[in-house]
Symmetry: C2
Subunit: 342 residues, 2 copies
DNA sequence: GCTGCCTATGTTAGCGCTACCAAGAGCCCA
DNA sequence: TGGGCTCTTGGTAGCGCTAACATAGGCAGC
């Protein structure tokens, strides 16, 4: 059966506003007003429309709304590997906070190497489907061929504002300093360090602060061992460091690696905390239940995520931003993995 | 300055297809064809258009594309708490796989209690902005007032197909059975169990299989202790169970809780594995580096996520689905936390 | 040289929604 | 009684894109 020129099959077999309008005996505009909670609709009309919506199972077409308003009701999040504790906690908080504000979240994760297909996904994310973008970890900005959108606000979680965007992060400097000073105050001569991924922003900040703290106290600065955030890398680092019987204190850049160090110590017969003190970072859920319970630095990563979203929402409203980097204070949680050296 | 009726400010100050078309001296349709890689465009025209796009920094407007085609290039994911290892690994894999297929991911997380604002976010997710939906964990389907879309395919990760949708999951029955039989084969009289969240699908499956396995071997079935997936709950459960000196084997429904049990044992002076054997579940990254390294059940959660997306993509192409539940086989990883009873 | 067909591009309309303007109804007060 | 006000509702156009159809030009085959 031939169709009239221009006539096209309904793409979505869902009822549209026009259907609801017809059912309720009002115009589409009135339906729109009800959907968006505009004022100046009589209670009776509203009720009639809502009844029609229920009857037809109406759902607003987000794409059409977005096209008409230029707003998408969605914020984008780009992050590296979610299985890294830090990224996860931030992303989780971003999602919660965005949802609280009535926004959906479009999440893209990147591998270090961005291949062509992935690029397509990221390009989609960064095209015109979001009202704002949260970049988790400044290192992402270095990703080749990642072109960020220039028409929506961007906020960086775990970065400094020198990256060209407002940034929110935990105060890794303060956290690492607290960890090192805690160990030095216990009487350790120096503190060894297992770093996170070499080019990660938090890893670099923690390493720098560890060095500074040692220097300030006039301690020797041992060569740090580079890890990759995993327990396996912490274990390997632990085996390496503990070949030296003089090592009495190790500060690992996260709890997973600290767990690896604890394991290495156990295997080599070094008692913690008697022979060796270990400090982690993150206060992951399991940290307090390792053997022994781990002294660590609790970061308010949920706060970072929350803050990010709030800065972003402010920018999205077009209000002026406080452009300075916000740093959230960490807290040293002392448990049983640290003690004075024997 | 008065504007003509109907004239409206450009909502997005981004160049549109019309701008590119003008710049390249072609029609908008030709630009569209280039953008979508359609055939029948001469190389010269294509080149001219591409140059114009680069010059103007053109990005396609996703909302307009979606409105015109009825396709969104996005799949939705609904999950509970991402900080639970199982959910995280599945969601992570779903994102990767969707991106590989050129789809973006819209992620919503739910708390047990869905409040009004959250509902708005979920409603947005499940309105007409996605081409398909992955529900992580069958329990989500029980969430009050969560109305799933009826016009796009839905797949459930960690559920059975009796929920009314195709389902993909890990074989918790096989995993729990392997864990229990491993312990019984070592000579333990029975095996105690710390469960996951009471109404969680995987938790229930694991508990049932644990019971079945004990019954099959004619062992007594001790009262299980209910946990909530956290190390803290595992610790509490451990303290409770270990009041009984006759307890020699504990199977925890995930590694975090197993870590808590290990901690409780250490505190009470029960040596693992000499006095007590412990088995976890998940093979979380840290499991092999606990003290002692944890015997656990490795699940292919990445496989579950991947499989989900593939089933979903099949359904989205309108192809017929194999409607049966797919179960991915787990693998028992034996480490040092299990041994014959003293 | 004409028909017929194929290829490259253009024209048109409409996806579902909302901003803007207009208009009718009801009301108050002079 | 009428002018001006508010409150509710409707008409219209257009957001940026693409499917379907239309068309111009080229070229093979007879």
């Amino acid at each position: 059966m031939p169709r009239r020129a221009g006539e096209r099959r309904r793409l979505v077999q869902q009822p549209s506003m026009a259907d609801v309008a017809a059912q309720a005996g009002v115009s589409a505009v009135t339906v729109s007003r009800v959907v968006n909670g505009h004022a100046s609709v009589t209670p009776e009309t509203r009720e009639r429309v809502e009844q029609a919506m229920r009857a037809l199972g109406y759902r607003a077409n987000t794409a059409a709304q977005a096209l008409a308003t230029g707003r998408f009701g969605t914020i984008g999040v780009v992050s590296f590997d979610l299985t890294a504790t830090g990224n996860l906690y931030i992303v989780d908080a971003v999602i919660r906070e965005a949802q609280q504000a009535g926004y959906g979240v479009n999440l893209a994760t990147l591998d270090a190497a961005i291949d062509a297909r992935l690029q397509a996904a990221v390009r989609r994310l960064t095209s015109l489907a979001i009202d704002g973008l949260v970049v988790v970890e400044a290192r992402i900005l270095d990703a080749p061929s990642l072109r960020l959108p220039d028409n929506v606000p961007v906020v960086v979680a775990e970065g400094a504002s020198d990256v060209g965007y407002p940034a929110v992060g935990a105060d890794h400097g303060a956290g690492a300093t607290a960890a090192v000073e805690h160990l030095l105050n216990l009487g350790h001569q120096t503190v060894h360090h297992v770093t996170g991924l070499a080019d990660s922003y938090p890893a670099v900040r923690r390493k720098e602060a560890w060095q500074r703290a040692l220097r300030r106290r006039g301690c020797g600065i041992p060569e740090p061992v580079t890890g990759d955030w995993t327990a396996a890398s912490g274990y390997a680092a632990g085996l390496e460091l503990l070949r030296d019987p003089g090592v009495t204190a190790i500060f690992a850049a996260n709890d997973q690696m600290a767990a690896g160090v604890l394991r290495a110590a156990a295997e080599l017969g070094r008692r913690v905390p008697d022979d060796l003190s270990v400090v982690g970072y993150d206060d992951a859920e399991v940290a307090g239940f390792l053997n022994p319970p781990l002294t660590t630095v609790r970061q308010d990563l949920a706060g970072v995520g929350k803050h990010c979203v709030n800065v972003l929402l402010t920018a999205m409203r077009g209000e002026k931003l406080d452009w300075s980097t916000r740093l959230l204070a960490p807290e040293l949680v002392i448990r049983s993995s640290t003690a004075p050296p024997a």
